[in-house]
Symmetry: C3
Subunit: 251 residues, 3 copies
C-alpha cells in the first residue's frame, strides 16, 4: 500500500486518516496533504467534528521521515522540512472544529506533536510515547509548544531530556496528553465514535467558541513555530547529526 491522506465524511463526522509505509513517519508531501486536509475539513459545512487517525494497527506515527531528514542539505531546506510539522499543528490549532485523536499505538517525536494538537485524545494501551529528537542532535522545537500546552513544562522537559526513553500510556494519561485509555482497537474505536457522534449533535456555534477558548494565547504560533522550524533546520546540519546519520547509513 502506498502513502496516503484521506478524508471520509459520515453523519457530520470527518475522519482524516494518514498512512506511510515507514511506520507512519511523515515526509514533506504527506505533511502538506495532512495540513491541507485538516483545513479542508475545517471549512466543510457538512463536517461538525473531526477524527484524526492513522492507518495500520501498530505505530500511530513515528515522527519525521528519516530519509527526508537525511536529505536536508541546507538550513533553508531544513527549515522547509520542519515547517511541514508547523503547518499541520497550525492547521489543527486554527481549525474551527474539535479534533478527536485516535492513537492505536506508539507516537514518537513529531507524532507526539500531532497527539498533543488534537483537542481530545483517546489512546490504546500500546500507545507509548518517546520524544526522540535530542538523540538525533536536534530537539523537539516545533512540537514543543503543543506538547507543553497539554502536559505542562515538567513532563515536556522530562521527555525532551530523555530521548531514548519510552513513557507508557498511563504516564501520558496522568499528564493529560491522553484523555482515556483502552485495551484494544475495538474498544478504542467505540469510544472515539461515541464522542464524535455526541459532539456532532451539539451546538456548532458553542463548539467553535470553545475551540477558540481552548487555543487562546497561541495566536503567535505562526511566527513561533516558524522560528522553531528554523532552529531545527539549522541543527539538523550540525556535525553531531551528520555523524549520527553517517553511523546509521554505515549499518
Amino acid at each position: 500500500m502506498s502513502n496516503y491522506v484521506k478524508l471520509d465524511i459520515n453523519n457530520g463526522i470527518g475522519t482524516v486518516e494518514f498512512f506511510t509505509e515507514q511506520s507512519n513517519s511523515l515526509p514533506g508531501d504527506i505533511l502538506k496533504k495532512l495540513a491541507d486536509t485538516i483545513t479542508e475539513a475545517g471549512n466543510d459545512p457538512e463536517i461538525k467534528v473531526i477524527i484524526l487517525k492513522s492507518g495500520g494497527n501498530r505505530t500511530f506515527c513515528a515522527g519525521a521521515s528519516f530519509d527526508e531528514l537525511m536529505a536536508v542539505d541546507s538550513p533553508e531546506n531544513g527549515k522547509k522540512f520542519f515547517m511541514g510539522f508547523a503547518n499541520v499543528i497550525n492547521a489543527m490549532r486554527k481549525c474551527p472544529k474539535f479534533i478527536i485523536g485516535r492513537l492505536q499505538g506508539k507516537a514518537v517525536g513529531g507524532g507526539i506533536g500531532l497527539a498533543a494538537s488534537v483537542d481530545y485524545c483517546f489512546a490504546s494501551k500500546h500507545s507509548a510515547i518517546k520524544l526522540s529528537e535530542l538523540a538525533l542532535g536536534i530537539g523537539p522545537f516545533v512540537v514543543g509548544p503543543a506538547i507543553e500546552r497539554k502536559v505542562g513544562l515538567s513532563a515536556m522537559s522530562q521527555m525532551a531530556m530523555n530521548p531514548d526513553e519510552f513513557y507508557d500510556p498511563k504516564w501520558a494519561h496522568q499528564k493529560g496528553l491522553f484523555g482515556k485509555l483502552y485495551d484494544d482497537a475495538a474498544a478504542l474505536d467505540k469510544a472515539v465514535n461515541q464522542l464524535a457522534e455526541k459532539l456532532a449533535a451539539y451546538n456548532p456555534e458553542a463548539m467553535a467558541e470553545l475551540k477558540k477558548v481552548f487555543w487562546e494565547g497561541t495566536e503567535h504560533w505562526d511566527e513561533l513555530l516558524a522560528q522553531r522550524a528554523e532552529m531545527s533546520g539549522k541543527l539538523v546540519l550540525s556535525e553531531f547529526t551528520r555523524n549520527f546519520i553517517q553511523k546509521f547509513k554505515d549499518k
Copy 2:
C-alpha cells in the same frame, strides 16, 4: 427553607454559606448576594480567613439556575445573568484573604467555577464534578479561566468536551482542583476547621501578599469574564438551546 446567603464570624474565621432549594443552583439574586458577602468578608478586619460552603448535605452547587437560564429573552439579559458568576469569581479573586472551599457533594457547571476560585478546596468523596454547559448549547466560558488556572488546559478541555460525564473526586484531586478528600462530612469539617484555625493565626500581611501572588496574571479578568458572559448570553438564545429548553419543558 428558602434561599439564603449568610456570613458567620467566629474566632477570626468568616464562614460564607449559600443555599437554594434547587440543589444549590444559583439564580441572579443569590449570585449577587454571594459576591457582595465575599467582598464584605474580605473587608472585615475581624476576619482573617474565609470558608465557602453551601447548605444541605448533598449537592454542593448545581450551577446556574435553570429557571433563569430559560427566562433569558435577550443577549443583554443573557450577559447580565452570566455576569452573576463573573462577579462572584472576581470577588473571590480580589478578596485579600484566603478562601477555603468545603464541598460536601457534587459540583456542576458554575459550581465547579466556585470550587476552582477558592484558594484551597477540601472535598468529600461524594464530590463528583461535571462541566455540563455544552450539553445545553452553551459552554463553560465564564468559569473556564478559573478552572483552567487550577487544573490546566487538558483537564479543563476534557471536561468541557464531555458535558454529560461526571469526573470522580479522585480525578479532581489528581488534577489539583481538590487539595484533599474525606470520607464523610465530619472528617471534612474537621479538616476545614483545622486549616482555617491555623491560617487565622498566621501573619495577615504575609497571607495578603501570598493571595496576590497566587492570582498574579489574572488582572485582566474583569474584562475577560465580561466578554465570556457576553458569549454565553448570546449562545443561550441559540436555536440549539431554545430547542433543548423546549424539550425539557415538554417533559
Copy 3:
C-alpha cells in the same frame, strides 16, 4: 566539617556540591558561592552537563539559614539576604547547560526552590518537601515562581498554605517536581550518572537551544525575583516574625 561549595569536573560532567553544618540550610555566603559556581560551570567549555547535589546523607537542603533570618535588622538587609536565593535561581535559569538535581533527602522552603530550578530532578524516597515560609510569618515569594513553573499553581499554593505539612516524594513526583524516585542513594547515584553521561554525549548546541526553550517566558525574573526578595525582606521584620523568632530563642 565546615561549610563549602565545590565543583568537580569529570568526563564533561560538572558536579556542584554544597554543604552546611545546619542540615544544608543556606547562609548568604554559601548562596553567593553557589550562584557563582553554577555560573562558572555554565561558562566552562569542558563541562557539557551539570549535577547539583548537597553533602551528607540526610537533608538535601533545609532552606534559609535561620541564624541569618534572625539577624536581619532592616528591610535592606532582608532584601539582600533573600536576593541570595534569587541569584542562585537566576544563575540556574541562565546557565546554558542542563542541570540535573540529586536529592538524597528532605527539601524545605528555599530548598524546594533549588529542586524546582534544576532541569531534571532525581530524588530518593526520603525526599519529602515542606514549604514552611508562612509559618515564619513570611511566604515563599522568591522561590514561588520556580516552584509554580514546575508543579503548577494548585500544588504550589497548596504547599504554601500548609506550611507545617510535609508532602511525600510520591506527591512531588506526581506533580512533576521529581522526574524519578529511587529507594536508596546507590540507585539514585546510578540513575543520575547514567543520565549525565548520556547528556554529556549529545549535541551541546541542541541542548543549549532546548535549555532556552525550557525557560522561555521567564526573561523578567531578574526583576520579579528582586521584587519578591524585597517583599520577604520586609515581612521578615514584621511583628509576627519577630515574635516567632523570640519564642524560638526563648526555648
